[in-house]
């Protein structure tokens, strides 16, 4: 396949960026999207040009590091995949592909397609944990049975990879799906109860401070989430938030 690429280039967080055109030929349909980018970068290096910076690591859809906005969709045209799992067979010869970084005020661009998502870490630091010491002095794991349905739902919420696609696709740049996935995981488990109130209040407070927008129930986040995290989690977080607020 021969393709035309329009890619966002930005030197660093202080400079302004622009779209730059590139042509690439002999793309195999079996290549992953990032392998296509590797080929392009090696061509640029051989021409003594600056390669395009993009985040990536595991290349199997679990680390959450890759983050491109491809043809107007985070992680591109395929469903339930990250950019690294997207394959070129999803495109046709002669296609033009527009590649941008994940855009949000809370995700400033570092370089080209690389953005800073440490706001997500700070939200987790505000309450995304159970306060148990790691000394090993805990009770036996089977002491508290957990209903399978709840355990499975907690697991589904916990599969969030923290990539930020939900924020990138949301017209409000809201991080509600991300935050609610963590809040839900814990609220469905008995270990949560002691800290439930503080957790939801603190995490939401941090989310607001980071500059993420609010949720207007558009549902784009659920559509674009590579792990299929359900909108139900947002409802569950709202319920938790309300419960925590009323008690005061």
């Amino acid at each position: 396949m021969n393709l035309k690429l329009k890619i966002w280039r930005q030197k660093n967080s202080n400079s302004s960026g622009e779209m730059v055109d590139y042509n690439i030929s002999n793309v195999s349909p079996d290549m992953s999207f990032l392998e296509m980018m590797d080929v392009l970068n090696n061509e640029l290096i051989s021409k003594d040009q600056d390669p395009i910076s993009f985040d990536h690591d595991c290349r199997e859809g679990i680390c959450g590091m890759c983050s491109m906005y491809i043809n107007g969709r985070p992680h591109g045209p395929d469903d339930l995949v990250t950019t690294c799992q997207l394959h070129m067979r999803k495109f046709k010869d002669g296609d033009t592909i527009v590649i941008e970084p994940f855009r949000a005020d809370a995700f400033p661009v570092i370089k080209d397609l690389v953005v800073d998502r440490t706001a997500f870490d700070r939200i987790q630091q505000a309450g995304g944990f159970v306060s148990v010491n790691t000394s090993g002095n805990t009770q036996d794991a089977n002491t508290i049975p957990i209903q399978k349905g709840n355990a499975d739902k907690a697991f589904d919420a916990a599969t969030c990879i923290g990539c930020g696609a939900c924020v990138a696709t949301c017209k409000n740049a809201s991080a509600m799906l991300f935050v609610s996935a963590k809040v839900s995981q814990f609220s469905l488990l008995p270990q949560d109860k002691v800290e439930a109130k503080d957790r939801v209040l603190n995490m939401v407070k941090q989310m607001d401070e980071e500059g993420f927008g609010n949720c207007t129930n558009t549902g784009a986040c659920e559509v674009e989430c590579p792990k299929g995290i359900s909108l139900e989690n947002i409802a569950r977080m709202n319920r938790e938030y309300l419960k925590a607020s009323i008690k005061d």
Partner: protein
């Protein structure tokens, strides 16, 4: 002068760890506040160690090259974590997990370390559940288990195909709690560039901020390396793109011995290579061998027709299939250990029975399991067990529940539906048992420098059993290092803050700067990837699943000249003081180019076959690994002497007091 003393406690194996812990020197809570510890890496080992050390009261500085500690490659571990809980009542015990691990490692690991690992394993599960890790549960609400290779019990705890993710997020959350309290200072997007020694002790590191390119000096009373394995020396592996040996290699060059570099795990079930452009390989969890059956066609002609696209696997009748693992190893069948399964796949493919375009793939077939589960479910629901479409639908659902994410990954990469046609798989580099040599306290041969998790060598011998890497990472980080490091740090309470302005720090910083400048000013003609791929090919062809004397000798010469060419002709665009991924890669590949040579040298000198190290000259008539316990029952620990060819071998003799050393058999 570095000394290699393993510091194994005396006494009964079952009492060693307890009595050792009882005798270890402690640091008082008020003194812990005066002590700084650096941790490099935030996988299971690094994250759990950082959290626990901070909780104990030390000042912790943690570094990772990713944009968040949550992204370390432990996240990609799929199948599960072993623990001797015996919840299934199938005869499991601490001793059995210990025994299985020693045997699985082909009698090349340390008894005392492995016993300790088995001993603390059960506690890991308790800890993780308390943290809110959502393990799989049965309908009674209790924890579920599955089986992994090389054992006859079900002791593997799991969270679908995302166990590593869930465990790492658990450790990450424990870290977050401490970061929030200011007990851990987290340095994301930072790379460790060198270790700084003052008076022979590890006193800090030189790090580079990967966003700004700034070179920084960080001091501490102890440095913990938790940077994972070196599988990426092969270029293609199941490791993440950024996984590298640099932290381990840099400490090796500063005096830490490097043990058993040739012990590499080639995992039998990975998605085969599809073409030249390939950047990495994807694992299909070993847990799939609980339900998948591995086969190739019995007739060469069928295999040829399959390769040419004239025949579909589903058209080959049962009696024309060779379930070669079940045939060769009836006792363990599809659940033989990884080294055995990988070699068996290679043997069939080399003999001409491979089933994809390249001839390097075998089938992993779920149709029997789908039918079995489907019938069971139909029976439970009172539906017709002979209605194939009902059975298929119900069976698919059960398989989706167990392995859904793995099947989806396969489908996205290969563009085939594994519910309806068998998966194609082939072995790929996955894990490295070798690593930095450590004593029983997990300290390297450099005082104050520790290595934990995959970065060290200690627990898996010549072959690691499935679901044991997660166990070891968390055992080291949560339960072992936080105790043992206290013994060393108790002597540091009067040291006070360590200056990072000393000449040792300045020299190390300058050396790092010079080496980075050399890359930038080199202006050669080939990219870093060009060299990395060439190195990978040498490693795979000559130091891969089977090795021989002449191949290894060639590898040593080829790697050496490739390394010289690299330093002369590599090109790195951009500058030092900016975000520059090529520069980061160049620095890592330079280390791989040295490690690769030591790897081949180690493999050449170990003239026996054991575990993942298979020397063609040393095999039984049936093609099994032939160990030489008389001459090679030792750990090879290499001391750096300027360059890999001059490395000096030190031998740590392995004594087996508990377990009788036997020929490993899974027949």
């Amino acid at each position: 002068m570095s000394k290699m003393i393993s510091n194994l406690p005396k006494g009964l194996i079952s009492e060693k760890w307890t009595s050792h812990k009882g005798k270890i020197n402690l640091v008082s809570p008020s003194n812990k506040r005066l002590i700084d510890v650096i941790v490099v890496g935030t996988g299971l080992a690094g994250a759990s160690a950082s959290a626990t050390l901070a909780e104990l009261g030390y000042n912790v500085k943690t570094f990772c090259f990713q944009d968040s500690p949550r992204r370390a490659h432990s996240i990609a571990a799929q199948g599960g974590i072993n623990a001797a809980k015996n919840y299934q009542g199938d005869g499991d015990s601490t001793y059995r997990l210990f025994y299985d691990t020693i045997k699985g490692g082909d009698y090349r690991s340390r008894e005392a370390n492995v016993y300790r690992l088995a001993e603390v394993s059960a506690n890991i599960i308790d800890q993780c559940v308390a943290q809110g890790v959502p393990f799989a549960r049965d309908y009674g609400g209790l924890l579920d288990n599955r089986s992994f290779g090389g054992v006859l019990v079900s002791r593997t705890f799991y969270a679908k195909g995302q166990t590593g993710q869930q465990l790492l997020l658990g450790a990450y959350s424990a870290m977050n709690r401490q970061i929030g309290k200011g007990r851990i200072q987290m340095y994301n997007r930072h790379e460790m560039m060198d270790l700084v020694l003052v008076d022979g002790k590890a006193r800090g590191i030189i790090a580079r901020n990967l966003i700004t390119g700034e070179i920084q000096r960080h001091s501490a009373h102890a440095v913990v390396i938790a940077s994972g394995g070196y599988g990426n020396v092969f270029f293609l592996s199941t490791n993440a793109m950024g996984s590298n040996v640099s932290a381990s290699w840099r400490i090796h060059k500063k005096g830490a011995f490097f043990a058993n570099p040739c012990f590499t795990q080639i995992h039998p079930t990975c998605i085969p290579v599809s073409g030249e452009h390939q950047s990495k390989l994807t694992l299909m969890s070993e847990s799939l061998r609980n339900d998948g059956r591995i086969w190739v066609p019995k007739n060469k002609q069928d295999a040829k027709d399959v390769r040419e696209g004239k025949l579909k696997p589903t058209e080959i009748p049962e009696k024309e299939r060779d379930y070669y693992l079940e045939r060769r190893y009836p006792a363990f069948g599809n659940l033989v250990p990884r080294d055995v399964a990988s070699r068996a796949a290679k043997e069939r493919c080399d003999a001409g029975y491979g089933v994809n375009k390249t001839g390097e793939a075998v089938y992993l077939d779920f149709s029997a399991a789908i039918e079995r589960y489907g019938k069971e479910e139909a029976h439970v629901k009172g539906l017709d067990e002979n209605d194939t479409s009902v059975v298929k639908k119900l069976g698919d659902k059960i398989i989706r529940n167990k392995y859904g994410n793995l099947f989806q990954m396969y489908e996205k990469i290969v563009d085939e539906d594994p519910y309806n046609t068998p998966m194609m798989i082939y072995p790929a580099v996955h894990y490295t048992m070798g690593g930095v040599w450590v004593d029983y306290n997990l300290m390297t041969t450099i005082p104050g420098c520790y290595a934990i998790g995959e970065a060290n060598f200690s627990d898996h011998g010549a072959n690691r059993l499935g679901a044991s890497a997660l166990m070891q990472g968390l055992a080291d980080g949560y339960f072992v290092l936080p105790y043992t490091i206290g013994d060393y740090l108790s002597k540091e309470i009067r040291t006070g803050r360590i200056s990072n302005d000393s000449s040792e720090f300045m020299d190390a910083e300058k050396k790092v700067m010079d080496s980075l400048s050399n890359f930038i000013s080199n202006k050669g003609k080939n990219s870093v990837d060009f060299y990395h791929k060439k190195l990978g090919k040498i490693m795979w062809d000559k130091c891969g699943m089977s090795r021989n004397r002449s191949g290894l000798k060639q590898a040593i010469t080829e790697i050496k000249s490739l390394r010289e060419d690299f330093h002369k002709n590599v090109t790195v665009p951009g500058k030092i003081d900016e975000f520059n991924e090529e520069l980061v890669k160049a620095s890592r590949v330079a280390d791989f180019l040295e490690l690769g040579e030591l790897f081949a040298k180690d493999a050449l000198e170990r003239t026996e076959s054991c575990g993942g190290h298979f020397r063609e000259e040393f095999q039984t008539p049936e093609g099994e690994a032939l160990r030489d316990d008389k001459n090679f029952k030792f750990v090879s620990a290499w001391e750096h002497k300027g360059e890999p060819s001059k490395a000096v071998l030190h031998k740590e003799k392995l004594d087996y007091e508990e377990i009788e050393v036997k020929t490993r058999s899974y027949k």
